[in-house]
Each structure stands twice: as structure tokens, then as C-alpha cells.
Symmetry: C2
Subunit: 397 residues, 2 copies
Amino acid sequence: MLEWLALFGGTAAGGVTRLLYTDAWSEAQHALKHVMQQKGLDVRFDAVGNLFGRRTGVEEPESIILTGSHIDTVQEGGKFDGAYGIVASFIAVQRLYDQYGAPKRTIDVVSLAEEEGSRFPLTFWGSGFMTGRYSLDQAASIYDQDGVSLKDAMEKAGFGAKPMPVGQNKPKAFVEVHVEQGIVLERKKKSIGIVSHIVGQRRYTVCFKGESNHAGTTPMSMRKDAVRLMAEWVLFVSVEAERMDEALVATVGKVCASPNMPNVIAGEVECSLDVRHYHEGMLNRFEEKINEFKERAASSGMGMTIQRWMKIQPVAMDEGMMEMAARQAERLDFSFETVVSGAGHDAQVFGEYCPTMLLFVPSRNGISHSPDEWTEPEELEKGIQLLMCKLYALAYV
Amino acid sequence: MLEWLALFGGTAAGGVTRLLYTDAWSEAQHALKHVMQQKGLDVRFDAVGNLFGRRTGVEEPESIILTGSHIDTVQEGGKFDGAYGIVASFIAVQRLYDQYGAPKRTIDVVSLAEEEGSRFPLTFWGSGFMTGRYSLDQAASIYDQDGVSLKDAMEKAGFGAKPMPVGQNKPKAFVEVHVEQGIVLERKKKSIGIVSHIVGQRRYTVCFKGESNHAGTTPMSMRKDAVRLMAEWVLFVSVEAERMDEALVATVGKVCASPNMPNVIAGEVECSLDVRHYHEGMLNRFEEKINEFKERAASSGMGMTIQRWMKIQPVAMDEGMMEMAARQAERLDFSFETVVSGAGHDAQVFGEYCPTMLLFVPSRNGISHSPDEWTEPEELEKGIQLLMCKLYALAYV
């Protein structure tokens, strides 16, 4: 089913490019709708194109258990990120129905419209719309890089109509399975990751200002070399992150020196800093720590600015559901690990809205957002089985 | 005279752009020729457009003392680099003639065609042609960025004809004055730099290969972060250079990370390394030292390559002329310092061909290759006076 879904937006390199409201995206959503219908689910789209396939509960139809993930991909992404969560939910719900008939409570399989932020400069458009973080009105002022507004793209794809065709009760729970996009499960040889938190993220732009000078005529002792100061900073940040907490990650991924010539001492360097942890307090402490480096820059006669341009709060997953998942994994004899998600997921939007659980299966070599994304079929199957247990507990008993 | 010369190729920003064989270059050389003629010098161009203004010696006309510098500039350069050496030589020779009449030995004031390498991918075209490093035949296979060959550009400017119009005996000596393009004289409050050596240069491209990974999902302990390795390298190189010798300079001026995104651990970094010193042995020892870092890279599971793509030998200036210049500067009561030139100069080409001397005057804030180039008129005058002493000793006694 993943291979089939990957045909919509499939690329020559074996990847998938399925950006929000493009033809590939529309075809995928409508193909999924068709498959859901064939299996007897009640299908509908909401105003932004989130697709729901409903198995209505026979005792408490108003109680909704929501499960799924996102249908969009990054440019030249893989076959698993997002798609696996939709497919796993669809299969789990189908198997439960085949085995136990209709649930007591309603289960909605959801194929969320957008999570990646690959076409428009916003993320979580699908889950954000469902949970009230975004409204339709915002779509008119958001543009893709070709100058197309989110509103126009949405309407061209057949959505965006007000009023919404069908309402959606607030779910009792949201359950998502996803590929890890990291190497922890693989390295620790675990089949399942039970996510305790989705990390908070802070991103900074850090500028170092020295003096651009001739590489030949300026003695080492007379230099104000912005590349050298940047190098000290990178090591400072890395060592402090390691020292402060095992779960803290700090990354300088982008470095731009100026004038960036072999024979000129760089007068300026701009670099990025990405910091993530699951406790807001830790992120605050680290921010204080990195600001201490400014003194070191000043003492060498150089300038330094640190500008924060992103601050996303950590989100905790539901503890009761986590514990239940651990007991179920033990019963199934699946190896598992409680993990923190260092990447963003729809579950972090739902996590602030309703009880939410996020499960991971391993990613080979930790690779994601690439045609090389891969998870072994037996690991995919374990994710589905644990999800079945979970949905059974939530919707059938 | 410098302000007048700066009119040829003058820019809106107050700088000078006078690239080899452009109209601005031709107009400058022909204007200089005209001025030299007016003062009674015998003028001629050689086959590549080096301009000579000759004061023929009355006793040993075949003995030639050559003095001058280059007429070309970098893109948006200053009014002093090169031009000062031509103007100083012209004025010194004129004053000597006014005071003492014709010299015993012949003095040629030379305005060299090219030194900077700003238009074509070669440097020292003027002095290199005079000393046999380059021949006319090479000009057909060297192109500027618009695809114009050096040969075509040269012919369009009226040069390149074989045989050469007039021969040139090997000079007895070459004497050049130039702005320092560095901050040493200014910091040490010296008026004159007597250059002992022009440094050797080596340039390397250094590549670090780690693993590109998700900045959120990869714990610090599982990373192979090429930016972090590069940072360790920059500090290693800087500290080792400082430790090894005061006159050694090592510069990482260019840094390119890949994929260079804030939320991705860089899998690769490529950076430059520029190393300069006046002793070949020191450059060899430093090259051995930097290769030791490869082990450190390997021990952290990462790859590293160091590729040398430039190797220029150090060149010593004539010791006798240096000593004489020091005595003359003392007599004139000019503060002076024996210095090493960290930048390349025509004197390094002549230094391998005939006894050569290079004198510096200070550069304000060490700035060169910029419209902000500046040297105080009284410092320019001191350079001319010392050059006069020098030429008097070489050509009149």
C-alpha cells in the first residue's frame, strides 16, 4: 500500500514529491478516499482537505478516536514519512473491524492535508486547522515561492469553502504512528519507540563581527578573525550541550563567512543554531549559557549578536496512553524504548488539544526526507499491531 | 600625480578599476608615456605593453637600473597599490636629474603591465614576460571570464607583435617601492619597511566528511558533524601557526558547509587554508603538522582530505641593498623596520632574476584593494626620498 501511495508524486530518483494542493497531492487524497470507501468507511473532506474515513461507534458514536498522519511530503522525500501513519491506521482499523466488527466508539482515520511546510511558509496546516490554531482567513496572505496564495491553491484543489461541510467533535484521543527519522531505535535495536515528549525548538541566527584583512600581511596576533571566533563558538556550544543534558541537542548546520575568500581573513560570519530539548527550563538555561559567549567575543575585540527567530514549546504526550502502550508492547513481546521526538509531528499540535500518543518504528540509518527512507516490513507490521491494541483499548472496550 | 593617475579607471565609489588591456589601462599607460616624454625620458613599450621611460647613463649605458611597479589594479581597487611605485620612481628619477644631471648608468622607470591577476587567471604578466617566466605564445590559451583570450586582448590594445620592438638588457638591479597593504608599519609607528623576504605561499582545499543527519533526532553522541570537526581544525591550525613561528600566518577564509541548513547536521564542509612564511622549511614543517590532524578526524569516524593547489617559493631580497637602505634611512632620520612581505609583488619575480629591493610605506589601517587605500603624503614623500638615495647609489656613483 505504501508503494501504491508513492506512485502519486513519485520521482525519477525513487522518492516522492507531494506538496500541498498540487495535482499529485489531490490524486493521492482522492485515491485514498476511494480505497476507504471501498472498505466501507464513511468518507469526507473538511474545508482544508483533511480526509476522514469513519468507522462509526455503535454505543458512543459522538466519542471520536482519531488516528492517522499527514499525506504531504517534502521535495524529493520518501515513501514512509507521513504515509506510513495513514496506511497503518487504515489497516489497523480494517483488521479490527474484520475481527471484532463495529467499535463502541467512533474511529476516524485521518489523512491530514499538510505537516511539512514544504510548499508554503507554515507547518501543520492540516492539524492546525482542526485544532483551531489556524483559520481559513489566514490562507489569503500566505504565498508559495511562485507567488500563489494558500487560498488560491486550496480553492483550485476544490477546498476552502465556507461553511465547513461537516463538523468535527473534539476527539477523545489522537494516536499517530510514524517513522522515527532518527537513529536511536536502530542503534539500540528496538522495534518500537513510545514517545514521551516532542521537543521544544529554538532557532537562532548568530553573527560574529571581526575585521576583514589581508591573509598574508596581517600577523596572527593582530587579527580579528571571525572564522576563528565562530570555530570557538561551535565547540563551546557543542561541549556545553553535551555537558548540560544527554537529551539536549545543539546544531550549527549553516555557516556563511564573508567575504569567503581563501586569501582574506573573514570579517564576518553568520551561522545558525538549532537547540532542542523536551523541557522548557533546559532550553532557557541553555539560552543563558550561550549568551555568556558574548563576553568572550568582546574580550577579543570582536562583536557578536544572537537573535532568536523560532521558539516552539515542548509538548508532552499522554502519560496514561504511554503506560498502556508499554504494557501492550511487553505483551506482544516487542522490544521498545521510551524516546523523545526531536522532530516535529502532528501529534504535537494535537498534544495541546486532546490526549495524544505518538509511536515510532525504526528508520534505517536514521534517514528521512530522502528517497532512501526505509523501514523493514516486519517493523512496519509491529507498529500496526501495537496501534491495533491501542485502538482496541480506546474504541472497543 | 596619484590623483591624476586615478582618473584612468576611476569609479563612482572613489576607487580605481584598471584591468589589463582595458581602455582605462591603455589610457593610463599612454598618458604616462606622454608625461615621461615631456620630461625628456626616452620612452618605449615592450611586446606586452610594459612601459619604459629611460634616462640613459653617460658612462655605462648598458648597465640598467630598473625601478617601478605595476599599473593595473584589482576590481574596485585603490589609488596607491602599484601606482605609487611608478609615480615614486618617476619623481625620484626626475629630481635626481634636476639635481645631478644624467646618471652614470642607465635608469629605466617601468610601468609594468600586470601584477594583480584580476582579469586573466595569471599574475605577474608584466614582470614575468620581462624575466622569461612567460612567453607571448602562452597568451593564446588564457581567457578572461568573458572568454576573451589574453592574446586577443593584448592585440586589441596594440601589443603582442613579434619580434619585440626593442630588446632589454638584464638589469643590474630592480628597486620597487610599494604600499605595505598591511598594518605592521602603522602599529609599530614606522615610516619605512625594508623588505627582507617575500613570503612563500601555499594554498590548500580541506574537506571534512561526516554524516548529514536530522538536527533534532540525532543525539550529540551519535553525530558525525562536519562543522564541529571543521571548528576543531580551524583552532588547531591557528594555535599551531602561533606556536610554530611569529612570522607564520595561516588563514581559513572560506568555509562552505553542506547542505548548509539550520536543521540539518552538516555532512560535509569544504574550507580553504592559506599558509605563508619566508622560509620554505617552515612551510614544509607546517604542512607535516596539519596532516597530523587527519588522524584526529579518523579517530572520530570522519574523513578528511587536504589538497594543495598552490605552492609559491619564498624569495629573498638582496642583502647588500637592504643594508644600504637601512644606513640611508638612518641618515635621513626615517624610522624603519625590517619586514617580511606577506603579499606578492613584482619584486618577487625580479628577485629570482637580478638583485632586487622592495621598500614599503605604511597603509592606513592596513587596507588595500579598496577605495579606502590611503597613505599620508609625508609618508609617500619619505618613500621617494629613500628611493632617490638608493638610485643615486646605484646609478650615479
